[in-house]
């Protein structure tokens, strides 16, 4: 019994340490972004551009496909649920608000965590194991400035854009099924959706996407930097970064939604 309590205590302390490490990493990345050029050690713009293409552009197709599918799924469920009440036309409002405020950011965050977050963790972990991180340091290049800061900027730029795509494709997917089920033209469906959505709803979704972006990068980077034990360690770190990123996204979404609905 005592050993179990000790284990829980040790895990709690390790978790708090890791959160602190993540906060310091975030602070250091922001420091280099804002002050690096004044110290003649700027964050490399070409690295930011390359990461934006890898994280944003390369993920756009899967975001489009999955958000389209989720939108269609919501329409299927929504229409089926509202049929007994004869309120199927209200599905437009429900889907527009839920996709804009919630689902697009959440699905995009999960996809990007799995795709780009794991790639960041794997890349940094592999660099750690092959002493490339040490090589950066002895050249005089701060690894956070070189690896974490560009990924953070790229992710914060890419995630809201991907989320916007996700919102549009989610509504489009729902409109396809609604056309099939109710005969509502796509143009009418989309027009009604845009009437329902306010700037507040859009900002809610986009601001969540920025929070998710920061979580994904920080969690992936710290897992990459903490890799030990060769190829197996890299694999474990990659898996761990995806699991923790997705968990953090869902929990952050819940907290964010709870507070924002009380404003």
């Amino acid at each position: 019994m005592k050993a179990k309590i000790e284990a829980i205590g040790r895990r709690t302390v390790n978790a708090i340490e890791e959160i602190g490490y993540g906060l310091m990493m975030f602070y250091e990345a922001i420091y280099w972004l804002l002050l690096g050029q004044f110290k003649k050690q700027p964050v490399n713009l070409s690295l930011i551009a390359a990461q934006t293409v890898q994280i944003g552009v390369a993920a756009s197709l899967i975001v489009i496909v999955l958000c389209f599918s989720v939108g269609m799924m919501l329409a299927i469920q929504g229409l089926e649920t509202l049929k007994p009440y004869g309120a199927q036309a209200q599905v437009v409002t429900g889907i527009a608000l839920s996709v804009t405020r919630e689902f697009a950011a959440l699905i995009t965050g999960i996809i990007v965590a799995g795709r780009s977050g794991s790639a960041i963790a794997a890349r940094i972990g592999t660099m750690k194991e092959s002493q490339e991180i040490d090589a950066l340091q002895v050249i005089g290049i701060n690894p956070v400035r070189y690896l974490a800061a560009p990924a953070l900027v790229a992710m914060v730029i890419s995630m809201p854009i991907l989320t916007l795509f996700g919102i549009l494709m989610g509504m489009f997917g729902a409109s396809i099924y609604t056309l099939y089920e109710l005969g509502m033209p796509i143009g009418i469906y989309m027009s009604r959706s845009f009437d329902v959505i306010s700037m507040y709803d859009l900002l809610q979704g986009l601001s969540k996407s920025i929070v998710f972006a920061i979580l994904i990068v920080v969690i992936s980077v710290i897992n990459g930097f903490q890799v030990k034990g060769g190829a197996e360690g890299v694999g474990l770190a990659t898996t761990r970064s995806v699991v923790i990123s997705i968990s953090a996204i869902v929990i952050a979404d819940m907290i964010f939604t709870f507070f924002i609905t009380r404003i």
């Binding site: 050690q41 002493q131 490339e132 040490d134 090589a135 340091q137 002895v138 701060n142």
Partner: protein, 273 residues
Amino acid sequence: MNKPLNQAPRKKAIQVKNLVTHYDGRKILNGVSLEVNQGEIMVIMGGSGSGKSTLLRYLLGLQKPTSGHIELLGKDITKMTEHDLHHMMRNIGVSFQGGALFGSMTVAENIQLPLKEHTSLDEKTMQIMSQMKLEVVNLAGFENLMPSQLSGGMVKRAALARAIILDPRLLFFDEPSAGLDPVVSAELDELILRLRDAMNMTIVVVTHELDSAFKIADRITILDRGEILMCGTVDEVRNSDNQRIYNLLHRQPRQDSVDVDEYLHRLTGQSLS
């Protein structure tokens, strides 16, 4: 009275004073003190687990020690700010055991990275400088290859070219001959000697390859279980009467005595008494 020039004390490029380090609660280096003169080749030797690679990590400023001081070119790196350390790195070149070339860059881009970090040279000048260093290490013509396309020896030479691109005053090698055949290893030894002679670099080589060590070293420091056993010239080390040094140089296996009771306890978890 002035000392004759050839007996004037040489300036110290590296000074380590009472270095103590820990890892995971275990003491790794126990009060290590060491000096390397400017322009000399110091070889640090020791068996596996002796602490030589750990010592190298602390000399490079990659970790902060538990206690002790490390001075490079007269400056204590254990007390430096990150900004000062960044400038100190301009004077240091390192060739890691596996090369540590950046896999996403070509050989030329790898070599030019320190130039991009520390200078404002234009692209053409950087290309010429990297080409010069590739010529020095006999890798001319391979600048556009990726590290994954290089053989082990070529990786080491490309890593060396990157290490010397800024003509550093201090050059460190971590197991330069690891994974190389004897011919390539001998070529690398010659290169190290040429670098010292041509550029008056101070060179520290961490290795357990005896042939290489005896060929290139001005002095040899022998580490064992986190402590310095001896520091001297090649002849002094060869003629040492220390049993552990003798075993290391003559590849004698350890003759540790075994306590039977303890051994059986470790196997079975039960005590006999």
